[in-house]
Symmetry: C2
Subunit: 171 residues, 2 copies
């Protein structure tokens, strides 16, 4: 149900360190740049951006919101009505066992139903309820606000290019 915002925060990203020693050499003239793994790191920049954007997301959603993963799951079921748990697991990139808990959560909130299929008694058809649709409408407004917030310092063209570049490194 409610996921505390604090436990969701991923803050293993340090503020940029002033590189006391990263540019200098030691007494023997050896370069010390290997000390600072975060300096000029694209991977670290991505992680830092992800942490900061999550902080903004949580600040907008509030402490009792669905977790991002469960939001994604709800959205997937909505756009793929009748999907089963194994397929959902595949799409979420987690195990079937993990999806059981995700669906348990969404079902306990009455956002999703496990519907029996006449021809296949081994799997469920997952469907979003009316309450689930209402929640998605609500989340849609909030995530739109979130999108505007994180893109508030860049232009439309920059936003487009940023997404394009992110897609390239994610491939």
């Amino acid at each position: 149900m409610s996921t505390s915002s604090s436990s969701l925060r991923q803050k293993d990203v340090a503020a940029n360190t002033e590189p006391d020693a990263s540019k200098a050499g030691d007494a023997q003239g050896h370069p010390l740049s290997f000390l600072d793994l975060q300096n000029d790191s694209l991977g670290y920049a991505v992680k830092r951006a992800q942490v900061r954007t999550y902080e903004m997301l949580f600040s907008i959603l509030g402490p009792d919101a669905l977790s991002p993963g469960r939001m994604t799951a709800l959205s997937i079921v909505a756009t793929k009505p009748g999907i089963n748990q194994s397929e959902l697991a595949e799409m979420l990139g987690i195990t079937r066992a993990g999806v059981v808990k995700v669906v348990d959560t969404l079902e306990s909130l009455r956002f999703v139903e496990r519907r029996k299929i006449p021809d296949n008694r081994r799997s469920y058809a997952l469907v979003v309820t009316k309450a689930g649709l209402d929640e998605l409408r609500r989340l849609s407004v909030l995530t739109q606000r979130y999108e505007e917030k994180i893109a508030s310092r860049i232009s439309k063209a920059e936003r487009r290019q940023l997404m394009s570049l992110l897609d390239k490194i994610a491939t």
Copy 2:
């Protein structure tokens, strides 16, 4: 000590869904675009990129490597020798209690030492050992390879702009 690569993977990012219904309307002509929260989402693109880059990082580091957070901590101590745990907590964005475990790990691996300070018996001066420096050198090579891998599909100029844009949305 060794962090299993599997448990590090953050995969709450779904593969892009074909929007079965996100562009269409329902029978009453209502738009259904609110169903797909991931469509054209910058925040989701950032998260997806972060998950994919972490997968590449783990594939290069292997299953027994330091976790990214502990790598960052080690690097910070190296660039700020004598830092104490509270300061390190601040820089990592986690609590003092959390840092205890981070330093415990690094100390058990002999990468870091808690050194007593004569004038202040309340805090430690954290320093990186010779073995810690060796590990940082090794990690530096591996993370360099990682950086090349994640940027392999974009130009130097694009990499520069990507980092610039990421910094802007992280502010």
